[in-house]
Symmetry: C2
Subunit: 244 residues, 2 copies
């Protein structure tokens, strides 16, 4: 599958170019193209904001027209927040990402973002195969350029990893306790509670025990945590004896 | 369903607080809480970066400890990029968002983000019900704070709208052409091509016609576009006559 090229058309702020590059790095994209960046190129702010993805900024290609920037692309997705009244499909970034990875996986795609103040010109959108519209709250509809790139790059990364897209951290190093370890804990705890007169009436005791077992089962203790809990019971009951 | 509170723990840069607020506005979140922002509060850079979501910055609540900031929350999701070796579930932002909206929809949740340089302290993560880990490219693993908020807020918004999460733009104002309009177009085009000797051999003609019909059918013309196309045919054939 080919990763999309990110094209920023007439971007204004170096900070947003750098933010876009940083998000590209996070989410597996590397080809950045700029059409006529307003403040010239290279741009120091872009390098600073790119942080550890500065290589993506340094390798960015600069063009004078959108047509040149898109010359070798085969399918173009343009982002816009405004109605353009053109006869083109309009999709969410999630649908676009899935299309890019599946149906159009063999094509060189481009994700195109317009200048901060005005968005893409209609002449650019007319060249697009598809329009991406990021759903937003109507009360705060204005998306930052760099943040729009975050959303689209993130969705592409998720789609490209398909079933293997998941946290990279190990959820736990611990081993879930066995039911025998839990049973021993319950008996330890209930015995101590019984000795200390916790169960006011004999009638109430089975109900209380069921509640305690329910609440502690839900905590999904590891074997180590069972040992810690039993240590706490020993500590508390020993302290109490010390005060007698 | 209750929207999550965003808690930024010891945030360093006002720009990132403002960027977080802006993304919150875009994606339907409004409650921002700060624990000990490094550069004090209020912070002018936060207001500038928040853009049209400046009200979220102005309404942010500031606390001196994480426990105070989370006092009325019922379920806490902390974000981290590093292994913490704690016995807690680790999920993607998409799974977390779906949990917040479905299983835990009646609980007041908090999404917690740590300081830029170090991430959350282990003591804060120990208070969390769940860890969110945003899958990233191992080559560029460092996420910007504001951009991490974008991803989590975006996923919450998508999950909260469930089946109704889709572009807000109207895909087209146009009416797809009827098959009779397409048939009339094909006959018009094929007649003119035939008059001009386009079909070199009689044998080849049915095959060429099928190719032309296939390629133009794929363009999914509207009724207006069929009229435009037929206008172009008339124009081109008239021009040709003028040159004779």
């Amino acid at each position: 599958m080919k990763a999309p090229i990110i094209i920023l058309d007439h971007p204004q702020l170096g900070e947003n170019i750098g933010a876009a590059a940083r998000a590209m790095g996070n989410f597996g994209l590397s080809q950045l193209r700029l059409v006529n960046p307003r403040d010239g190129w290279p741009n120091k702010q872009a390098n600073i904001m790119a942080s550890n993805a500065v290589a993506i900024v340094e390798n960015a290609q600069v063009f004078t027209t959108f047509a040149q920037a898109a010359h070798d692309c085969q399918i173009i997705y343009t982002t816009t927040a405004r109605d353009r009244y053109m006869n083109k499909p309009v999709v969410s970034p999630r649908i676009a990402a899935n299309e890019m990875v599946t149906t159009h996986g063999s094509l060189q795609s481009a994700l195109v973002f317009g200048p901060e103040r005005t968005g893409l010109e209609n002449d650019v959108i007319a060249r697009a195969d598809c329009i991406i519209n990021i759903p937003v709250n109507a009360q705060y509809p204005s998306l930052n350029l760099g943040q729009a790139v975050v959303v689209c790059a993130y969705e592409w990364y998720a789609a490209s990893m398909n079933g293997t897209w998941q946290p990279t951290l190990d959820p736990t190093e611990n081993v879930r306790a066995t039911k025998q370890e839990m049973e021993n804990l319950f008996i330890h705890l209930e015995t101590k509670l019984d000795e200390n007169g916790f169960f006011k009436t004999r009638d109430n005791k089975p109900h209380m025990i069921r509640n305690i077992r329910t609440m502690l089962t839900r905590a999904n203790f590891s074997d180590q945590e069972v040992r810690t809990f039993r240590g706490m019971i020993r500590n508390l009951t020993e302290s109490e004896q010390r005060f007698e």
